[in-house]
Symmetry: D2
Subunit: 383 residues, 4 copies
């Protein structure tokens, strides 16, 4: 074994991969690092597109894939998946013996990876800690931070919060958002309009007219996801605006949302919505740059829309307390409120771009720190 | 289903049960509560004594037992046990559907229970959060706190820390330590000297002369547990003092410690140590009240010894940063330092009792709060 | 606890439930039995339709549901699912404490249930043992038989085979097939033609003209499922016959088949195939009674078609060595051979009904045996 | 990847390793093979002695270790361990990609390995199939055979049985017993009498006088293991003969046996039994060659004793129906019967050696077949 610094990235979804790729390539091409990938969760599911050929084409050699998703689409499946994932990540990390494990975000597979890495005495670098958002995701994000050693946060507020939570200031780095960096670097011209109208089901979108994007994820803390998605569908139907509706991720509650969409389609002969399950992150970024408004409860309405100045309608509590810009109108799950907000935002048009979550050269900043940071495993509370 | 408040206690060791019993009985005997027990981890292993008959005799009716301990005795086994435990706790909690899940401490099974409870949207009450201690246990303790909703801390410093970490002040209650309450209520007269000299192996202890107690747990963050325990064995041998040595818990590293003890016994014809694997918590409490000094890296040296004014020698970093009284001498894993500190403490004798961790009526305080506290599952960071 | 005989049925798919319902209702309505259901595998997935409301409507009270399916759609996911299922079935059986566990078939979840039941010392009754079929399913079916105590086989050859394998003749009962009983009892008039043309995607079927049914499952022993399904698609396209194509079950290889179908649809503007993912077992049975030919590698081509006299084209080795009637033409995965065989069968038309797999009153026969059979757990090889 | 034949041995206990070592070394030293080891179960537990250093010293390079034993010591733990082991073996086999997986025996970890290997389409070679023995082990052994492709049996009766069960005669090889080969090759002079009297606890054995060996494993199908072991203890106490008592394996029921032994020791001041938990397989073989009688329910009483002509007292049904020689007296779990049988056997003395389970050059025979046998994965029932 030589003394290269071994960096293990945990990839749990395709979009996650797309947004980490600039960073990962920097690391992979540097001879002082040995790069390792552990791929699990939805990133592996063929129905979302197999990413292993992509990983090879992108030059990654040490790749382990983990089967951790237990089907069920509800809270129980999510919790059990976390358990299975801890077992599987332990095996994979034991095999790779990395010096640093790089995690990102707040999903249950990421918590699982953090636990395995912590018990195996690895130095954990966590990206996107410190944010507030509501939902179980926020608690999980903070729990991951308390197991991590090096923090790459996207904004100053999150930096302050992590230090207050006892993390060592020298190891909390504000580097901006990898997502926004990815968005900024994606050229809008790559948008393949024809392909989009062939993808998914529903209405054909006329790109010469304004269209909105809807992303509504299930909420796992006891909400009625079926009803909530119906409110949004009704609001859009009433607005008469064209919309791309993106299917939710595979959180608990997904099946309720799928059911609501299916029923909507069966009950309406006429509608202007195109429902899409999967789109490449690059196409999605390009589409965002062309949209007139973003509606739903995705963090894209907070972060990506902030950078683009894209008017956003944020529904419900899923993103509550995230650091949010003035481009957002917050509403509850009520079709009247949602329709009204969409109308206002379409009338308003673009907002100025904000750098709340943007910092130039995010990947390079992280790369430099991964290269030089001292490593440690025994944490000490910063009192 | 009636509207009794359903309280589910998670029990992961025999000692844990002994120390929660006053509280659990209060809850169990109150008609407004429905009490549920989930028993797992070492509490179930027959070699530690089956506690199920005890639970029945103590009046608990709704008991589920979980098999979660994966054998191996090292970090990998610990991590995989956590994963399996998440799966099993999910099943058990799904079956019991409690209103409040009461967790305690910082062990990996407790983290597993916290994750399952969080994803199942239960209100989590956590006992003993906010302490600093070093070791992976501290990170895990804080992660559990960030998943919990109601906090019962043992001291003011821990209360301040949890609030700083973003927990709502109204839900962080300083109630003192259940362990100290248990210790305070255990009469020293129950000590069964004859039984003690029949239990375990090694020298016969003369209770008319001073004796010390040694408890040295494995440290999971990369230390050489084999060497460390040898230093302590040598220190005691050189001190010539009588000692009860208590076998470690089943953390990673246990096997190294067992091996060191076995070799010590094979290599020494003469020694004054009695090695004991298991003692009832009641007998142990009584024994503590008779000891001349407590040596090792157990939290008993910090907490129990503080209340008793029992001189303690704390070795290494496992308890570092815990709120500690003046009855402690801190040393590193070096036989000379340890021997020297034992000598000093024996010469010093008793210290005054401290109430750093003691508050009268701890169980009653917790009980009252469990009864009246509003319940919630969606956390909100206290900024 | 009273002395009712406790019968626990393991249900792992919706179709499995439909076909066991006559038997299960007989048991459930008899006061000498206590009926228990453990539902897992694809039976639980919402995308296949939640069966829990059905179970309640059908009068079943003691139902436990298990999450055991690990996503991935390949051999690895199948194997790991088996492992997880053993863990989960153990918990469920430990809770229910049945006298008899009734299993059926050869799928991996069923093997998992058999293992759990065997180690928990339950009497296992297995339905459909002794058949030959090729594929890993056959080995698994025999392994389940060797763990089982009471056997309900569908044909004489299977009875002989189990006795030869060492099963006690007194406990091997030839009772005919529950599937055929279900088929026989389903009236063809319930067919909802309009609903069928609304279900799934692809061509609209003209029910006044002949149509065929295609069911091609993935094969798990190293075959190229993608290529194989392409051959069949091409054969049908060349035949010009109308077809209902039913999506495969969730075995390893499913994703390859899905991909082949997706590409076929994208590459052909004109085709006469309707692709259907899920149809109720009742509708499917009615549809079978109206079809002109059955094509693929499903056991329906062997068993159901045999009873109906429905011409069948059996492709590849998946059903090899099953006891098969003269209504079948066997071909390899080659579009020319398949198209030729379809043509021949359409020209031939109906065959006489066979009772190879049919026996009147199958459910009643099983019910009577479950009621009176002596129970035992220690097996003795019949030499 | 070159075209060496990759052979993966599954090792689940230390004794298992000792007895396979001659074969494994033959394979490992042949350049046409690539040898892989997967080590799990009790082979990994430090309290039984870590075998990894041994494996390295013996020249094995590709070793993966699996943590699969769930603590609990009863049926439930055994069943859940099987499930966890399927998950872990799947990972390990997926990584090693062997051509042949070599399994041995009938324990639950072996069933787990067989399932993983079968679903991953590996050729499975199984050693010691076809025997009858009673207990759940027999059913499991037959289930493993039905999942396996190449069989190495120890006697003619087992060969006939496997063929009758549908295994292809060309792939069922009678090669004698690896255990007996190991026994035959172990020189009795290596016995370390002093070490034996230092190992374990209890009476000091006088090697100049006759002594017996007791091995009583728990029975998992509902027997009262606590009572059974008491009968044997009482029988030996009444016989007045010296005895080495070997602790049982870690099957369900172990804890009951441990408890019975502990109570016996506490209740008797005088006894002539030495209780030993672990002895190296080599020392045990040498000890067998010096013993006057073998008592209990271990297969050693059937197989090893047969070759040595060692008088044996076989208790209960655990070995029932195994092919047994005339050196055995069968008794039930009754102290009078057991004591009487011991007395008779001591009076009788040695029996002639039998070759029921012995064939010269067992390892070489297996090695030659592994080298030349055609491989296949799709089984075909031999009707």
């Amino acid at each position: 074994m030589n003394n290269k610094r071994r960096i293990c990235f945990i990839i749990t979804s395709r979009i996650h991969y797309a947004r980490n790729k600039i960073l990962m390539k920097l690391v992979n091409e540097d001879p002082e690092f040995k790069t390792q990938l552990i791929v699990g969760g939805s990133a592996l599911l063929a129905k979302y597109g197999d990413i292993l050929p992509n990983l090879q084409a992108d030059g990654f050699r040490s790749v382990d894939k983990l089967y951790t998703s237990i089907e069920g689409g509800d809270n129980i499946a999510m919790s059990k998946t976390t358990g299975l994932a801890v077992i599987e990540f332990t095996t994979a990390l034991q095999r790779f013996k990395p010096d640093i494990v790089v995690l990102r975000g707040d999903r249950f597979e990421v918590l699982a990876a953090a636990i395995a890495a912590a018990y195996l005495n690895k130095t954990i670098a966590h990206i996107e800690g410190g944010d507030l958002s509501g939902s179980i995701d926020e608690s999980v994000r903070h729990a991951i931070s308390k197991l991590s050693h090096i923090h790459f946060v996207t904004n100053e507020k999150s930096r302050d919060r992590l230090v207050k939570m006892g993390e060592q200031p020298d190891f909390v780095h504000q580097v901006g958002s990898l997502d926004i960096e990815f968005l900024a670097q994606t050229p809008p011209e790559i948008l393949d309009e024809k392909h989009l109208n062939f993808t998914g089901v529903g209405a054909t979108i006329d790109f010469k007219k304004p269209f909105i994007i809807v992303m509504q994820h299930p909420v796992t803390t006891g909400e009625d996801n079926f009803k909530n998605v119906n409110e949004t569908l009704r609001a859009i139907q009433e607005s008469g605006v064209q919309a791309f509706w993106f299917w939710p991720n595979i959180d608990a509650g997904t099946d309720d949302i799928s059911k609501a969409i299916r029923l909507f389609r069966e009950q309406h002969d006429q509608y202007q919505i195109r429902f899409i399950r999967h789109l490449s992150p690059e196409q999605f970024a390009a589409l965002l740059k062309r949209a007139a408004c973003l509606v739903g409860n995705s963090s894209a309405g907070i972060k990506e829309a902030s950078y683009l100045g894209l008017p956003a309608v944020n529904i419900g509590t899923r993103q509550q307390n995230r650091l949010a810009g003035s481009h957002i109108l917050n509403v509850v799950y009520d079709h009247r409120e949602i329709a009204e907000a969409i109308k206002k935002q379409l009338a308003h048009g673009s907002y100025p771009s904000s750098d709340l979550y943007f910092k130039a050269g995010t990947s390079r900043l992280i790369f430099d720190i991964l290269k030089k940071t001292p490593l440690y495993t025994q944490k000490k509370f910063y009192d």
